[in-house]
Symmetry: C2
Subunit: 715 residues, 2 copies
């Protein structure tokens, strides 16, 4: 079998390119960042992918139109007044390579705050260099919110500085809210499309706005703020004015600055910020569609890369179809990212960019395609991680990125990719024949964002490995359950949807994943009580529904039967407990898990809480009946084979479906399986680095299967 | 030398009593709980202490007047409504040996709450057995606040159950708010005084109200709530009515229940509860004075025991003198408790009850005066702990409790007590000659209670060993600095008093020791900024000023230069840091301390924060200049010799008094010293269990001193 594979071509290595295209069954050749393909490759007749990042592509024009650069609000450092006047240099602490203040920008958008009493301070002036704050309250701290222009596009900046590119040009991101920018971009795209006559697929990287990435001046704190899902870089005088016209109210600098905390995806969003995101999304789709239409006019397809400048694209917004994209490409490290890509509707092609990239070194600087590197092992390890998801859902294409010549001398890698592409095509074919077996259990992840952040806590696992929900997503990605996300606001208004069996809430006090202050709401709590009391399941992880000022530290405590000692109840006696052995949930777990993000101080509310694991003091896992339903508590969560099994059993138990433990479950958590009824085939994968011989429970009985390390077996 | 020592006498062991009185230099003989002295002892002419606990002394009368028993509010368990009616048995879960509902008590004082939406629910009725809640919101939880009478006095109950006293009578505590109770108590006291003609000192144990101690029905949770400083047991129909008359507003059950959290001392007090405490204090002093006057009328002295039924006595309230007590006795395990006793004004005699008690076993059930026990070691260990405080302040008397005959066969113990009493008398004599050297540095402990809770976080160290401030108090108790407590409310209103050099705030988010919501107040923060900016010192421990919703997680972050990651700033970059070697503060500390109550996620605000210790990720200790003053942060605190030295150096540095390190400091933290200028004597104590040879830095130079394990040396 061939097809479904995108090969990075390389000029000067035409023979190698064609050889590997043959060996790996490639049906597409792409250019990589910083490479362009030679005519010899372009003229093979193999379809060509070409990448383009519009907003940083017209640097000459950008230099002539600094007023059309992208902007964002920044907050100055905090300065304390000792007398009644205070001088503040707004830019102090920021990287001047990235930011500047444009003299022509309206200072009326700036705000000064007394951060000690939290009020806006109106008596100040800006002389082009310094803000003088007048009539200060002595011993109060003040800050200036100001509008900065960005003179270096972040991905260009990162690559330039990381790779020490010396005096290579600093690319700048232009602001498409200006009509003249849009015209310049469309003109450029039009020319580009004319020139790239061999290109079949235009891959946008991505649309117009990068995720927020603010650099500081200190070598000891390069990142002042970075978040994969924040919209700070979409603000500018034009968008602010248009927003006000459209929404009837205006956004101010403090809506974006929020006392220096900005609006990270990990924090429950404000209503205003949700409005802003919708507003921005409409603009990005509108202008994005013009770009896609132009690509289509040239008879080419338009794909979009789901990273970098992805802000406003929001493939899970329900409006992604408006763009008219033909394909969506996601760079993946983990299984949940494969689900994040696969689940996007209104696009034909879902493609994964696999790791390792064909670069000399890996993410952490370790050798990959260098002496001492074992890229074949890396490839198998990444693939083993992602394959779990591909057992459950169909992905249409996979591909690599980087410099093809680096594979020379790494024959084991070349062979490994051949195996991986074969495995991929096998799985894809099975899915095309019909859906695999599923327990049918419908899991709803309850958080602040709802469906917009399905399979997604903003970014890759390695960016926020501390988040329990990232790890929960990773486990779920390979389990035979149906997963969706539920917004807390929607559940507060309408209750848990009828087609959900088990709700998971996994997060830390005040964050978007636990939920924060909305848990003070009685309707929300009552809906959750009702859902479980009538037979639903609830799995609470780490600090589910934790909020200050209530009767309980955890809003969901009465369902789960556990609460947390937050220091306000140290005089209250706690029930002593014994750990319950052989519970359905814990049966496959050899020893008490020690989650890396475990909440401390968890205790049982009464004797009806069954403690499954404890560290002697705190509860690690517990289970409890709540009227007709069930609650399970885990004090944290770390993805691992064993913990995935624990979570799966917790889901089965919470759903009251214990009998399904005999349906396509192996006796070794490192090996998972999927049954494809229409093909009559059972797939067993071994995600570990050891050969395994496992027993698979099936409705008809059991089957013994041997699977090599990292391998797959079709039965 | 003899004197200053109170010996527990024992009938049947008259010879032993007199022998040990001689050996230990006793000038007083006391009866112990459950013992009475024989005529042979009574008639020696040695002054006699006799103990009395009035409120549980008239049990026959109490049985005939159940309406005069003490009361308190309790909250029922939480029950969820599924329909519109809900039945609640208020007493479910409580120990029926302790509580009952008196049929004649006014049900109008009860309250039902919807705990899901936090509102009071008025539609309910009580039929003498069950509360029927009507018109419930389905899937909301409800509770009943109800008034219970106590039919077993807590100390009687605890001793009875712990010692398995079988059918011995259950003593009940009567409520002196009823005039008939007061009359019965005074009559009893009058009779008792007549009968105890040999008694010189009447020791009250203590006045009328025990600290709050609520027992549950489950063997797995005996203590539902216990707090050494809570006033729950002072509420009853009479006190509620009198309070309303006096204050013009009424207290309701929920003021005491607070959604089941009650009012632990560890939580910032409400204004209403402070009113209630003052109101109760006035009553206790008023009736207490009548009792004391009666004692004086018989020519006897009146001492009070600062434990058990101490509620309303409040020796640090500033009104303690109103009672007219002649002495105050405190049972001590720790040095801070010795300071808690020694610092009380308006009383002549400050006496400590030392450990071990003359009981067969110790607190944890380990043998004391039993084979395998080493009471002489225990005695030396307890004494070594407490002696540090006695170097700094004068205590007038010490004493023991328990059964004297148990000392037979423990000659080493008898000798050890002889040494201890000699050491005590030496220290006392030195203090009488003039005060010891002090750095003069004035430390203010900033917390919610102010001076009322000086040297005191409610109870003994072993009850709440997790509290950093308990450990800070313990270290301070032996340091040559002046210590007072500052109330957050007073500092908010008036700033830090001018005669304070270093402020310490040590606690956990929301607790009374850190301070809770008051830290949202701009005035308070500005006063702290001003105090340090003008040259003051601040030491923040664990979660100083931590409060949600502000610009910083720690309200004092900008002074200390550190803040805590509470989950809301995970997208903000943190400054990398290197640990500073050889800083003045950390110079005597061999390795990074690991505090048992360490806060996690502490990071530096910028490069000006000097990190003294870290665990690789979190900051453990840091120091920083703030304008003319200085801030020191410790992420927790555990009492130890080394940590005491660290704290002392932090105080010197924060006060800008580094030069004082040469004044009476040893080169070994296990050994501390005090210089008494008028006597020209230097005392060096060794609190460790090893012999030590140390160098003492003094203004004139250095001196080498050898001190045996646990010993004391006068130079």
């Amino acid at each position: 079998m061939t097809g479904g594979f995108t090969l990075p071509g390389e000029s000067g290595y035409e023979k190698l390119t064609l050889e590997l295209a043959e060996k790996w069954g490639a049906d597409c050749i792409r250019d990589s960042d910083g490479t362009s393909l030679s005519d010899e490759i372009l003229e093979t007749g193999i379809p060509i992918y070409s990448t383009i990042c519009l907003v940083r592509s017209i640097n000459g024009w950008a230099k002539q139109h600094p007023e059309c650069l992208q902007r964002n609000f920044l907050m100055s450092e905090m300065k304390m007044a000792q007398g009644d006047t205070l001088l503040i240099d707004p830019m102090e602490g920021y990287f001047t390579g990235q930011f500047t203040i444009l003299p022509g920008d309206p200072v009326s958008l700036w705000q000064v705050f007394d951060r000690t009493d939290g009020t806006e301070h109106h008596d100040w002036k800006w002389d082009g260099k310094t803000v003088t704050v007048k009539n200060c309250v002595p011993y109060h701290f003040y800050t200036v919110n100001f509008l900065a222009a960005r003179i270096w596009e972040e991905i260009s900046m990162y690559n330039h500085i990381t790779n020490d590119w010396g005096d290579r040009e600093h690319l700048m991101a232009v602001e498409p809210r200006y009509p003249e920018t849009r015209k310049a971009l469309l003109d450029f795209l039009n020319e580009w499309l004319k020139e790239h006559k061999h290109t079949s697929v235009v891959r946008f990287t991505s649309m117009f706005y990068n995720f927020t990435w603010i650099w500081g001046s200190s070598a000891r704190r390069r990142d002042v703020f970075s978040d994969w899902g924040s919209y700070d870089f979409t603000v500018n005088p034009v968008s602010l004015a248009e927003f006000e016209k459209e929404y009837g109210y205006s956004m101010c600098s403090e809506d974006f600055i929020r006392a220096g905390k900005h609006n990270p995806t990990h924090t429950p969003p404000t209503v205003r910020m949700r409005d802003w995101m919708e507003f921005t999304g409409r603009f990005v789709r509108d202008f994005g569609k013009q770009c896609v239409d132009l690509v289509h006019a040239y008879g080419k397809k338009a794909y979009v890369f789901y990273d970098d400048s992805w802000i406003g694209i929001e493939p899970w917004s329900g409006h992604f179809g408006d763009f008219g994209f033909d394909g969506l490409i996601k760079c993946v490290f983990n299984a949940f990212e494969a689900r994040l890509c696969a689940g996007v509707k209104d696009v034909n092609v879902h493609e994964l960019r696999l790791h390792p990239y064909l670069f000399p070194t890996g993410l952490g600087g370790e050798p990959t395609f260098l002496p001492g590197g074992h890229p074949e092992k890396d490839a198998r390890r990444f693939w083993s991680r992602i394959r779990r998801a591909l057992m459950r859902v169909k992905i249409d294409r996979i591909g690599l990125g980087g410099y093809l010549h680096l594979t020379q001398g790494f024959d084991a890698f070349v062979d490994e990719i051949a195996s991986i592409t074969d495995e991929f095509r096998l799985l894809k074919t099975l899915h095309e024949g019909g859906e695999p077996y599923s327990t049918g259990i419908r899991v709803g992840i309850l958080q602040s964002w709802g469906s917009l952040r399905t399979w997604n806590c903003a970014g890759h696992m390695h960016e926020h490995p501390e988040l329990a929900l990232n790890h929960i997503h990773e486990s779920l990605a390979g389990l035979p359950v149906e997963v969706r996300s539920l917004g807390l606001k929607e559940v507060k208004e309408n209750g848990v949807p009828k087609d959900v069996d088990v709700v998971i809430n996994a997060g830390r006090e005040g964050d978007a994943w636990s939920g924060g202050d909305i848990w003070k709401d009685a309707e929300l709590k009552a809906h959750m009580y009702e859902f479980v009391a009538r037979g639903g399941g609830l799995i609470g992880v780490q600090e589910p529904g934790k909020v200050r000022g209530g009767m309980r530290a955890l809003a969901l405590a009465d369902i789960l039967g556990v609460d947390m000692e937050d220091g306000s109840t140290i005089c209250a006696g706690k029930y002593s407990f014994e750990t319950e052995k052989g519970h359905f949930i814990s049966r496959d777990t050899q020893k008490a898990p020690a989650f890396h993000n475990a909440a401390k101080g968890v205790y049982a509310l009464d004797e009806n809480t069954k403690v499954l694991f404890s560290d002697g003091e705190d509860i690690i896992a517990s289970a409890r009946a709540f009227f007709k339903g069930r609650g399970v508590y885990l004090n944290g969560y770390t993805y691992s084979f064993e913990n995935t099994r624990l979570l799966y059993r917790a889901i089965l138990w919470a759903a009251g479906k214990e009998e399904l433990e005999d349906c396509y479950m192996t006796n070794d958590p490192a090996c998972e399986c999927a049954f494809f009824p229409s093909a009559g085939k059972l797939i067993v994968i071994n995600s570990s680095e050891e050969d395994k011989s496992v027993r698979v429970s099936m409705p008809g009985g059991e089957k013994n299967v041997s699977v090599p390390a990292g391998g797959i077996k079709v039965v």
